[in-house]
């Protein structure tokens, strides 16, 4: 059965590109901005770009926090992109008064100021040694470049367990995170050419096989 991937649409600029990239892979997509739509989701993507506060406020103002946590709790495949990765943490120094989803311990912090910020452009990953191979990175060359556009990041020392790959710009930070059904990437697969399309295809495949 072809599954529909639900894109949480809180007004972020990259929803359209994520949607288009998935549709090119043959995935059906739906944009969701109500609790009921998230309750019905069988695979979820939280795209995001911009300010941490914009994402968290939009989730709370639309009453999406609880249904989102419940959806992840029931085990459906979840992919967070950019801010969608950062939202998984307890909080971010970018908006210290707001609470993240707290699914992953730790705080998102600013990248060091000894490098140009935002970290903008194509960078490579450092794949971490791991017991189970990454499902998101399946079939992707270890020297592939991905497109990043961010100034804040999660540091790997906070959460060794789910860290699949890191990237370095000023300091090392988490680029790919996977824990059970929770997947997240700091870069933008929808803007990362062929490797990005492969990553989205891998997620689409997970959405297909999950029952």
């Amino acid at each position: 059965m072809t599954r529909t991937i639900t894109l949480i649409d809180y007004g972020a600029g990259n929803v359209t590109s994520v949607e288009r990239a998935l549709q090119k892979l043959g995935s059906a997509t739906i944009r969701a901005n109500t609790p009921a739509q998230i309750d019905q989701a069988t695979a979820l993507i939280l795209p995001g770009v911009g300010h941490f506060a914009a994402l968290i406020r939009a989730l709370d103002e639309n009453d999406l926090r609880a249904p989102l946590l419940a959806a992840i709790e029931r085990g459906i495949p979840f992919l967070g992109i950019c801010l969608g990765l950062q939202a998984l943490y307890a909080g971010s120094d970018e908006a210290a008064d707001l609470k993240g989803l707290a699914l992953v311990p730790g705080q998102v912090v600013a990248l060091p100021s000894n490098v140009k910020l935002p970290h903008m452009g194509w960078n490579q990953l450092q794949i971490q040694p791991r017991a189970t191979p990454s499902r998101l990175l399946r079939g992707i060359s270890s020297d592939a470049h991905f497109y990043f556009a961010h100034s804040f990041a999660a540091l790997p020392l906070q959460q060794k367990a789910g860290t699949v790959a890191t990237c370095t710009h000023g300091s090392e930070f988490i680029a790919v995170f996977e824990r059970n059904n929770i997947h997240a990437v700091q870069f933008h697969p929808e803007k990362s050419g062929a490797p990005g399309a492969q990553l989205l295809a891998n997620f689409f495949e997970m959405a297909e096989v999950t029952t």
């Binding site: 770009v49 452009g121 960078n123």
Partner: protein, 256 residues
């Protein structure tokens, strides 16, 4: 392993077709924007910039349809600008599929525009485009507006710093002196701006040879380099340019 230097083709359009000219004048047709976008996406461009240079000049509305059709061709980031004066203008361009917005003349006239855009879309989406020209005494670069036509008293370095403080996440720096000359990028200008700000700087104006790109990355401290007609006219292929830079030990993103 570090952040790659970006190669960015630029489509200057009149609202319908891609146009080109020397020192911002004598425009002539250079092709269909959607076809060119598809070609650059396939050839390994790191980003694409699409500018509506006519909108900036005579206030025509930005041509969202081109943005929409170009965005549909791309698996790389898209920056769009030209004639963006308000938050509403910017929203329309972002909704049409642009990842970043460039502002130029309107930001000089009303610098708060930069903060408004940065608050709404994030600094990573706000590109301050600066057209700079060396003054007659050869000791300061001054900002030009309205497509390079009008001189201002604004010092380019001070303006770049002010723009970053207001929330710009990137500077697209065009040398009016070098634009269209194919004599190479403006190394002193680019180095001066790049060393003065904390955000990435895209160098623009004057590129022809692969050596020009190597020079602007090495000596101009540019984070990215933009060119138009040398790519449109097949004088320089993006793939060969990147291979050259990689051989010169300059970090680039070589796509397969």
């Amino acid at each position: 392993m570090s952040l790659a230097h970006r190669i960015i083709p630029c489509l200057d359009t009149d609202g319908v077709r891609v146009v080109k000219g020397v020192n911002f004048v004598g425009l002539r047709d250079a092709g269909d924007p959607v076809a060119l976008a598809a070609r650059y996406n396939a050839e390994g461009a790191d980003e694409l910039v699409v500018l509506d240079i006519a909108a900036s000049r005579d206030r025509r509305p930005t041509f969202l349809d081109i943005i929409r059709r170009v965005a549909a061709e791309l698996a790389i980031p898209l920056t769009a600008g030209g004639g963006i004066r308000t938050l509403e203008d910017a929203r329309a361009v972002v909704h049409a599929g642009a990842d970043k917005i460039t502002v130029n003349t309107a930001a000089v006239q009303r610098p708060e525009l930069i903060s408004e855009l940065s608050r709404e879309f994030g600094a990573q989406a706000v590109v301050l485009a600066i057209d700079a020209k060396l003054d007659d005494e050869n000791n300061h670069w001054h900002v030009r507006i309205r497509g390079g036509h009008d001189a201002t008293d604004l010092d380019a370095i001070a303006w770049a710093k002010q723009g970053v403080a207001a929330g710009a996440g990137e500077i697209l720096l065009t040398s009016v002196d070098r634009d269209g000359t194919q004599k190479g990028f403006d190394v002193p200008l680019t180095a001066a701006i790049s060393n003065a700000v904390t955000v990435p700087v895209i160098a623009s104006g004057g590129a022809k040879l692969p050596e020009h790109f190597a020079e602007i990355f090495r000596d101009g401290n540019a984070d990215a380099a933009l060119a138009a007609s040398i790519f449109h006219d097949n004088i320089q292929s993006i793939r060969e340019l990147k291979n050259y830079l990689a051989a010169e030990k300059i970090e680039v993103h070589l796509s397969c």
